[in-house]
């Protein structure tokens, strides 16, 4: 194991989830005496030496810890595993401390011990700070705020903005919207179905030959009239075919459409 890193307590369930629930009633911590994990446990053991953390004997601490592990068989399994990792590390530290200095490898046991001591000091300091913090004059426990403050009121006042153009424009809009609507349809260049029907049937009457639809259109019409004439003439051709007065022929899809008069 990495000799310089203290093992952490394992998963949270073993760490503090339970503590939130169990600190007060002591259900879980009874057997652990309030200890949460290896570092916690060490800190507590160190405090029992009743000396300054800077002067604790790491060796004595290690002895106590290993002793504790031996007697704590009833520990929760996950916790126990952590404790054992810690125990292994501490046993290693202890042996290093007992060995003659020359035979030690880097980092030296003294360095490891010092680092452990520093960590314990820092944790101890925070423990104490937390306790002092909780002893502060707390709102709702030691000091009280006003029972029913009426509150400071901020009244919003709106300054409305609008200008002459918007005003007059709005009136114009209303007038325009509600003015009686007059619809004018502009004259458009169209050939009605009626005139197409007349025109196509008249032209069919002239010949018995097949004629292409295109030939029925007015020759010099402007493009838009031509398009209208094409559409109307096509419908006229269909109508004549329906009435049995003309027959239609188209060789292929989109091919030229031809028609001729039906002989009677």
């Amino acid at each position: 194991m990495s000799a310089d890193r203290l093992p952490f307590a394992g998963e949270d369930p073993a760490g503090e989830g339970q503590e939130d629930a169990g600190t007060e009633d002591g259900a879980l911590y009874l057997e652990l005496d309030g200890w949460e994990g290896p570092l916690d446990l060490l800190l507590d053991l160190a405090r029992r030496q009743k000396v300054d953390l800077r002067q604790i004997s790491i060796l004595a601490l290690v002895d106590q810890y290993l002793d504790y592990i031996e007697h704590a068989e009833a520990l929760k399994l996950e916790l126990a595993a952590d404790y054992l990792v810690m125990a292994a590390w501490l046993a290693y530290l202890k042996s290093s401390l007992l060995l003659p200095r020359e035979e030690q490898e880097e980092p030296s046991a003294e360095e490891l011990a010092l680092r452990l001591q520093l960590r314990l000091q820092r944790l101890g300091a925070m423990r104490e700070a937390a306790a002092r913090l909780m002893a502060c004059d707390r709102i709702g426990r030691d000091v009280f705020l006003r029972g029913a403050p009426e509150g400071l009121r901020i009244e919003r006042k709106t300054l409305w903005k609008c200008d002459q153009y918007a005003l007059i424009g709005a009136y114009g809009r209303v007038k325009a919207r509600t003015a009686p609507a007059v619809h004018m349809v502009r004259e458009r260049p169209v050939m009605t179905l009626e005139s197409a029907l007349d025109r196509v049937s008249a032209m069919l009457g002239v010949t018995l030959d097949w004629m292409e639809l295109r030939e029925f259109l007015p020759a010099h019409a402007e493009p838009r009239l031509r398009r209208s004439a094409l559409a109307s003439s096509f419908v006229a051709a269909l109508e004549l075919a329906r009435l049995g007065r003309a027959e239609l022929q188209q060789d292929e899809t989109f091919g030229a459409l031809r028609l001729r008069r039906v002989r009677r």
């Binding site: 006003r146 709106t158 609008c162 007059i168 009136y171 325009a176 295109r214 838009r224």
Partner: protein, 205 residues
């Protein structure tokens, strides 16, 4: 300041409701009522000239802020907002047709007008209630205010452009026509279909 005064002061402050002498006495570990009353009087005197007062209301005591400081405790915040389109239309109708009832406004606008719109205009100080129309139901009628003329830079309502002028500036053109004018004349260029032979419809040759 006596211990009992300090305790009363704290209790009145922290209480959610005014407290009577009996309640206070119980709070203070069954203090004698006259001691409590003395304490209340002393506090009342102490605060008489401060920002807070200790006052008795219906035999119960409480703290309150000095009435003349009320204006400090209410702050006004001004906020500039543009009038909505609907409100602008209603305002214009009132200006052109005043005095006018809500039903008349609605019939001119062609849509229902929420009461909130009229409220906004009254809050802005631009329209006012100008009495009631002498017809069945006696509806409230509205007119513009001098502030209205002021705000819009008009010497009088006669300065509002007339219908003829509105028409001349195009403000009275029906929407569709104005739209067509803007979009350019119908010249066939925007026809979607091209020539029949380019496109090969079923009937194309």
């Amino acid at each position: 300041m006596t211990e009992i005064e300090r305790a009363i002061e704290a209790a009145l402050f922290a209480a959610e409701e005014p407290l009577g002498v009996e309640e206070l006495a119980r709070f203070l570990g069954d203090a004698p009522h006259d001691k409590v009353r003395q304490g209340l009087e002393a506090l009342s005197d102490h605060y008489a000239t401060r920002g807070l007062r200790v006052v008795e209301r219906g035999r119960r005591w409480h703290f309150e802020t000095a009435p003349e400081l009320a204006h400090f405790l209410r702050r006004e915040r001004q906020q500039v907002r543009s009038l909505s389109r609907a409100a602008t239309e209603v305002l214009a109708i009132v200006a052109y047709h005043e005095p006018v009832s809500r039903a008349e406004i609605e019939s001119i606008r062609g849509v229902q007008t929420s009461g909130g719109t009229l409220d906004v205009l009254m809050e802005a100080g631009w329209i006012r209630i100008a009495g009631r129309r002498d017809v069945p139901g006696r509806p409230t009628i509205y007119a513009t205010t001098p502030e209205f003329l002021d705000h819009f830079g008009l010497a009088s309502r006669r300065d509002l452009p007339g219908i003829a002028e509105l028409r001349a500036t195009g403000l009275l053109d029906p929407v569709e026509e104005a739209f067509d004018a803007l979009m350019g004349a119908d010249d066939g260029r925007e026809e979607i279909l091209g020539e029949g032979d380019e496109r090969g419809g079923p009937h194309a040759s």
